[in-house]
Amino acid sequence: MPQVIQFLWLIPAFPLLAAGLGALLGRERRRLAASLAIGGMALSWLFSCAAFWTTLGAPGLRETWSFRWFDLADTTVQLGWVLDPLAAVMLMMVTFLSLLIFIYSLGYMAHDGNFTRFFCFMSLFGAAMLGIVIANSLLLLFICWELVGLSSYLLIGFWYEKPAAAAAAKKAFITTRVGDIGLLLGMLWLYSQSGTLLFYDHGGGCLEQSSLARLLAGVTVGGMAVSTAISLLIFSGAMGKSGQFPLHVWLPDAMEGPTPVSALIHAATMVAAGVFLVARVFPLMSAGSHPTALQVVTWVGALTAVFAAAIAVAQNDIKRIIAYSTISQLGYMMMGLGVGGVAVGMFHLITHAFFKSLLFLGAGSVIHGCHGEQDIRKMGGLKKLMPWTFATYAAGMMALCGVPLFFSGFWSKDEILRAARDWPFSAAPFYLGVAGAFLTAFYMTRQVCWVFFGKPADSKDSHAPAHESPAVMTIPLAILAVLAVLAGFLGTPAWPWFQSYLNGENSPLTFTALFARPQLNLMLLSTMVVGVALSLGWRIYSRVAEQSSRETDPLEKSLPAVFRLLQNKFFIDEIYAATVVRLNAAFSSCADWLDRVIWGGAVNAVSGLTDLLARINRAIDELGINAGFDLGCGGLRGTGSLLSWMQNGRVQRYLRVAGLAFSLALLALLWMCA
């Protein structure tokens, strides 16, 4: 057994320790707090490298380490961690990105008063996320999952003085909680069915053959296999966390948090947790010959991909656009998992993590440079003012759009599309995916045109000309840009290293695979789609960017109804307000009415009866019993005054009485003896 497995727990432990220590620091210990957080994360990164190295050396490695948490009657609850390629690659990604984002935060948060609190929360978040990654038990995963939820709540609401931030934090917390109920139910059901929550336990885990067979055999409502039902429940948790279609509403609002938080939570890690969860329980999801759960995953992902991309077209807030883009890309990942398995989805997750955090950090750099301005209509011409930011942002944008050959997004998205085309159940996801790709390229072009090209917008209300961000922010951008480009080459059809690494195979380098017929067709198709979208976007928006007034979008002029629909996010929030919230309110007022009229009436009746009885009682008391007591009291008072004469507070009288009593008793004794 490799030594590293025994020390795997240290990876989340370092940031946790940093968070704990950071919580004890005073507000003024900024340097120490930042060094603690960064140091903890750097140590975690080093350990992750070691873990990753171990998995490289042994294909298909899966080591677990379990321990007993507590005994309850005759059941033992075990926790543990696992090291396999899936965990290792996530560890690498999470620790490395977290480290870069921490460093970036040094610059971004430099002027914030609650610097130490920020790093404390960030470390806590990192620890929880790493805990999810290494967990070998659905219970431990769930614990860390909730911790992630807590710390994202804290981080989104970091500027809690802003009402919008507080509301967004609440919204994120509550919306993801809806999904988490599903996860909790699924977990309990899984425990009741398989008797363990460990994923892998030398054949006894819930994701291993014997348990899966038992789960498949069970049938529940509507003829569904138990494994499908549990999978769907678990997937609802993933939907909440990863912002899939009905539960996506919290994610754009969460942009109220500081930008590094957006990058960390909404690009790299937390939203990826949902995808990771699906990947982790993939054996359960894909159990059986006809995996219904995976079909659901695919449909939800495909719908989300197009739906969110469409919304992104009509948004004006730079971070909001990227947020919707994130939702869309998460849909892609889910779709990838559904149609192509773990490797396809995870590959897009990794590449997306790099370029999306790059985009977020770049957006943060833009906002930082524009003194907090987030509306793209008020920007423009930043290409010259912020060359580094522009260059890296462009790299990220092209990776996201899937510009052919040299950008990672191309390869990972291509994988998904290829798998979707081969999906036996339906062709619709493939077309939805292509449409999503088109929309993605379009809205990214729109954004880049408005932000970086053209003239600066009316600077009536902007305070000073924009400026380039400090090195502590641009250097992480540059590193991420390089990785956003290079990460794609790990999984090209010519050299599918990543896929085979996850599946535990060897990967040959075959350039010919690139030119296989269906593969080439697909690549040409996607290239075409991207090219059309880019040029269309450029045509429409590069002209507008030159104008100083950008109040109306060209799209709005031509298609006002569609644009309004998109700008208002398909009125999802309003629909929720009109349905879910109102239903809830109606139910509450109904409960209130019940409480007041029925239960309250009953209580009042009882109290009235009691009151009546009490009055009767009182009458009896006053007329009958009191008189007797008065008589008795008079006697007592007489005795009492006699006693009180003796008890006059003078010690000497007591002593005299005692002496008298003593001598009388003695004399009586003598007289009796005599």
Binding site: M646, N648, V651
Partner: protein, 104 residues
């Protein structure tokens, strides 16, 4: 007349009664305490006398009892006098007949 046990006992009784009379008849709290000390001493004398005239003087029980009694009397005097001083500070008097707020 050669002193025998009853002489000591009479002496002790007299001492005890004198102490008792002082304790119940004098006003000053300090004198009351002094009277009580005299009563204690009378009891001590009894112990010593019975030890000396007792059947088994080798046992030293009486002597031991008196030694402990003396030690406890010292503690009692210290605490008692501290109380008197504290009361004096509160009420500017040590006359027992004016310290009677604890009455029925």
């Amino acid at each position: 007349m050669n002193p025998n046990l009853s002489h000591y006992l009479i002496l002790s009784a007299l001492l005890f009664s004198i102490g008792f009379a002082g304790a119940v008849a004098r006003r000053s709290a300090i004198l009351v305490l002094l009277g009580i000390e005299l009563m204690l001493n009378a009891a001590n004398l009894n112990f010593i006398a019975f030890w000396r005239y007792g059947a088994n003087p080798q046992a030293l029980t009486g002597v031991m009892f008196v030694l402990f009694s003396i030690a406890i009397a010292a503690a009692e005097a210290a605490v008692g006098l501290a109380l008197i001083i504290a009361i004096y500070r509160q009420r500017r008097t040590t006359r027992l007949d004016s310290i009677d707020s604890l009455k029925g």
